[in-house]
């Protein structure tokens, strides 16, 4: 049996080693670096305690980014799930070519946020503005991503377009797993379609909702690629008397703090806070939904 142990070790080792070197070690290095004066250049780091953590909360851009990231996450959880759910009803209906629609709605999800960001930048800045001028619609004549009031919503629309088809497929799988007999019984009892959706389908899909809300939450909270190429954080606006970037979400704020200003340690401290907030939100969400699943 000793030989078996050696082979097992050799089988486990490559992945475990990479995992250790790429995630575990940098993770703990990161927590340590967040409490130093790391600037990306110096090799000897000095301990500064929690200075980097307290510093970020007096920084208008960080407070603003934190708030809009929460707003963006909430908007997306609602929009993506409603759109995905309605599309899943459509994709399981008797509509001709429903498999074709399913496949089509899924396409945006295959393409990276970087590429989609440029495409939608063109849509917002050129296509919509041009259409607004042609049709005399004042609201469209200034780009939605150039205005601080609309830029978060514009990003949410793109994210919904990208992600709803994926969420739809999870709902479709869930709808198909509902036993036919349940729906037929409700049908015989005379429940109309709306009642059946709310009273029978949705409660039976509780575990799917837990997954989709978790996915949309983490996906929007960590948004970076789309943010970088669609708006690059802009436009500028005033917040707490300082100029801030109106669509700079947290992930981008972390990246820019390090990249633009070489403030590696403060950026790392922000990343640690980002991690803690994300974990707390995800756990609370899963806990609440699991409890609902049991009740349902």
């Amino acid at each position: 049996m000793k030989r078996r142990g050696i082979v097992d070790f050799l089988f486990i080792f490559p992945t475990a080693f990479a995992f250790l070197m790429v995630i575990i070690v940098p993770f703990f290095m990161g927590i340590y670096y967040a409490m130093t004066d790391w600037d990306g250049v110096k090799t000897v780091l000095n301990w500064v305690g929690f200075k980097n953590f307290t510093g970020m909360f007096s920084e208008p851009q960080f407070i603003y980014s934190f708030q809009i990231t929460l707003l963006y996450t909430v908007i997306n959880i609602v929009l993506v799930n409603i759109a995905g759910f309605l599309m899943s009803l459509l994709a399981t209906s008797r509509v001709k070519g429903r498999n074709f629609y399913r496949a089509g709605f899924f396409v945006p999800n295959l393409i990276g946020g970087i590429v989609l960001g440029y495409i939608w930048q063109f849509m917002f800045n050129n296509v919509f503005v041009d259409m607004g001028k042609a049709m005399g619609l004042a609201a469209f004549q200034t780009s939605f991503i150039a205005r601080k009031e609309t830029v978060i919503w514009a990003m949410s629309v793109v994210n919904t377009w990208q992600y709803a088809g994926y969420i739809m497929m999870i709902y479709v799988a869930s709808i198909q797993s509902i036993p036919d007999s349940v729906m037929e019984a409700a049908n015989v009892d005379g429940a109309n379609y709306i009642t059946r959706v709310f009273k029978i389908m949705m409660p039976m899909m509780a575990s799917a909702f837990t997954i989709t809300i978790f996915l949309t939450l983490t996906n929007s909270f960590k948004q970076f690629d789309l943010n970088a190429t669609l708006t690059n954080g802009g436009p500028a606006m005033l917040y707490m008397g300082k100029a801030v970037r109106a669509s700079q979400l947290l992930a981008m704020d972390i990246y820019r703090t390090a990249n633009q200003f070489n403030l590696m340690a403060p950026a790392q401290a922000k990343a640690v806070v980002f991690f803690v907030v994300l974990v707390v939100f995800s756990l609370v969400q899963v806990y609440l939904n699991k409890r609902r699943e049991v009740e349902a």
Partner: protein, 300 residues
Amino acid sequence: MSTKVKTRHQPHASLGERRGAGLYVLEIVAILIFILFMMPFVLVIINSSKTAKEIINSPVALPEYWGQIWTNVVTIFNNPSTDYLGAFIDSTIITVLSLTVITLFSAMCAWALVRNKTKWSTVIFMFFVAAMVIPFQVVMFPLVRWFKIMGDFIRLPLLGTYHGITFAYLGFGASMTIFIFHGFIKGVPLELEEAATIDGCSQTRTFFEIVIPLLQPTIVTVLILNGIWIWNDYLLPLLVLGSAGAVQTIPLAVTAFAGSYLKQWDLILTSTLLAMIPIIVLYLFAQKYIIKGMVEGAIK
């Protein structure tokens, strides 16, 4: 949840169940949503076939001459500052290498963890699963420094190289891949492997000749999930390869290109089109597997 996406499904008591006006309206709604969904792609194709001046005149009009798209493609390929063809080759190499390494090593690891029931294997598995909550942002900066230190130590640079980024992808892909394999292998009966052992088959041979063939459907899921992630990934290549390194990926090339041709939408849109084509073509051929793979990956 152990649902499978059925491709052909007789819908029960669903929307538009009574044929007639309702279903008719629903079909129109479906077509409208579909057009709306495809509009950005249609506009990319239309505008990739225009000159910069035509786009400024009207971004929605049809192009005067569709052949312009070849001129735009050639301009992009001949552009001296970004090597588009090179990025395509690099992206392919990195994706193929990473997928091979992640799939093979994670399957080996997951199998050993399931079959070797000790408290250590449980602890290691728990570590892999727990790490799924760690966002990339919290490890990315230390990772670059750590890769530099390790590279100096082994006298083989990890930053800016194929093997460096492949190693990184193995680390980042491990958690989810092992989780998926682990779940599947748990359900595979031991008898087959035991019979092979009794017949004198070594552990390694048992794995490659008996377990791997059984894993095939799961391997497809894992390949698709990781493949789409790696092909589209931006931040990890940006940090590990750098935006001006010798090795470049497609997302890096697209950003470099768009950055150097500010607002030249004819070329930027053509470059996004070129970036999308490989995935769209793959999707046309393997649509069923891709949807199934991505949905099952999320559900598990």
